[in-house]
């Protein structure tokens, strides 16, 4: 498995950290030997539509195998407040590099 994957950001729930059009490089191996920590930026499979991806921040580790996700732009974000905690298996990886436009 290639360790990195590119994503282009769309939508505004992670503003001002990520703006629509920014690129992120995701480290898929980041959580092989450690668990996601609060504050990590992650790309996950959307629990409400498995064929697409979300970029969010880990708000809390809900349990050993689950995390709560939040958007930095709280009022607009659709996140764990709506769809609940997300399984660690759904995490694609941790954002390693952000390329701002």
């Amino acid at each position: 498995m290639f360790p990195f994957r590119r994503f282009r950001v769309e939508d505004e729930s992670m503003r001002p950290t990520l703006e629509p059009g920014d690129y992120v490089l995701v480290n898929r191996w980041a959580y092989r030997f450690q668990s996601p920590k609060r504050g990590d930026l992650v790309v996950v499979q959307d629990p409400e539509a498995l064929d697409r991806f979300l970029v969010k921040r880990v708000a809390d580790a809900a349990g050993p195998s689950q995390v709560h996700l939040a958007g930095d732009n709280q009022p607009l974000s659709r996140d764990s407040r709506a769809f609940g905690p997300v399984s660690i298996n759904r995490i694609v990886g941790k954002v390693w590099i952000r390329l701002k436009r």
Binding site: R5, D11, Y23, L76, R78, R81, A82, L99, R101
Partner: protein, 173 residues
Amino acid sequence: MSLLYSLARLLDRISPARIAYAHCDIPCGIYDPHHAQLAAHTVVRMVDLINQLEKPGPNATAEQRQEYTNKLARYIATKEQHSEIAKSELRILWADYFKPDHLKTFPELHDTMWKALKTASKARQEINLQAAEDLLKATNDIASMFWKTKGLETITTKAPYPTERQTVYPKFK
């Protein structure tokens, strides 16, 4: 624009990156329970009108029967449509506006919503004033919860429509 960004964009042309959505619902954030309340008023009004409609007697002319049928059909069609609008508006509030956090303040939220939707179906299916009144009451209850989440108090007062039923309005400062 940084060099790396330009490089990423160039790479994107060759092999497009997957999209990671910083997902929001549109995001408009514009919600108001008034649509549901208004639709419920319309349903009440239609039931009132249907009940007030004079039924053609055995000696009614063809024209009188036709007029009766036409009016009845129009009231029923409007009642159908607005029960459905009430349901749609309630669903939007339930699914999109209210968040799990709100359940801490309003543990009865799910039950109220669920019953409101069932009542709306009943009001749609039948010519039933009680069901229509119950629907209006349910939309009022949901409106009080909604405005509380916005930090606003509400007043309950007679609506300025022919229905004249008690209605919950926000008290804007």
